[in-house]
Symmetry: C2
Subunit: 143 residues, 2 copies
DNA sequence: GTGTTTGCAAATATTTTGCAGTAAG
DNA sequence: CTTACTGCAAAATATTTGCAAACAC
């Protein structure tokens, strides 16, 4: 979704269109790095000298509630974010903590499978696969 | 694994066998609630009046490194722990935040599948399924 | 102009660390 | 008796909140 589309959605919902909101969404939309709040803040503060962490937190929370970003819990002390809201697995490097999408995989049938196995009414899934990325694998120094 | 077995392992590794360590592992072993550090601390402090949060953090970290507990990141502000270290999916209630095991499911083939799809060397997986538990489903008030 | 948003600073929550006293072996 | 461990308190880290000034509309 483009910045223009975001502007339309924000207006429809009665939210104001601010440069900070557009910049944060634009940054998330144009990266595959699955950044944390801090990484978003640091990548934007040069162009927005007054950008604050609080604004990044508030904006990401809003985007999450609008279902325009998804939150990942890869096992670090902080969350990471992905503007690709389609349910897709993530692979995480034990060593360099890189987070990549696994886009070609079709694991959507798992929700149905799990629904049959439990009395829960399952709506969503988060699948994380851990190992060593191409750059880190082979090089000793384990986990 | 029993408290006695834990004692043996601790001794083998050169760690001391303390009442706190046994109590924390025993608590984790005998619950299916996937407690957070705080929940462990609160459930033990009545019987161990001097139990401290720091000791719970340190002990759980040790158990994690010994591969006697696994850490879950279900999307809250803190981690949860499971003394069942076998790789098994978890189901989480959006409403009451209950975390249950999905023990009958066999999803072990996913690691192989993912290994073929990426250049990562995948070693482990964490699968989370979100929805409404039997007690919460049906009752309005969404997510 | 009105009402929301920003960004600072303070507050809260979670986890880690330093260290003196305590307990395990 | 020696060394590791506990538990307190302080520090470090992550996130949330209150509020005055600034901005969107």
């Amino acid at each position: 979704m483009s910045i223009e589309d975001l502007s339309i959605i924000l207006k429809e919902k009665g939210f104001k269109v601010t440069p900070q909101r557009l910049a944060i969404y634009d940054m998330l939309k144009n990266t595959k790095s699955h950044p944390s709040i801090d990484m978003i803040y640091n990548s934007l503060k040069d162009n927005f000298p007054t950008m604050s962490l609080a604004t990044v937190y508030k904006t990401v929370d809003m985007l999450k509630k609008l279902n325009l970003v998804q939150e990942l819990n890869v096992g670090e002390g902080s969350f990471r974010y992905d503007a690709n809201v389609a349910s897709h697995p993530h692979v995480i490097c034990y060593k360099c903590h890189r987070v990549d999408d696994l886009e070609d995989a079709d694991f959507d049938d798992l929700i149905e499978k799990v629904n049959k196995l439990t009395d829960y009414d399952i709506k969503n899934q988060k699948l994380y696969f851990y190992g060593y990325c191409p750059q880190c694998k082979g090089k000793d120094t384990a986990k």
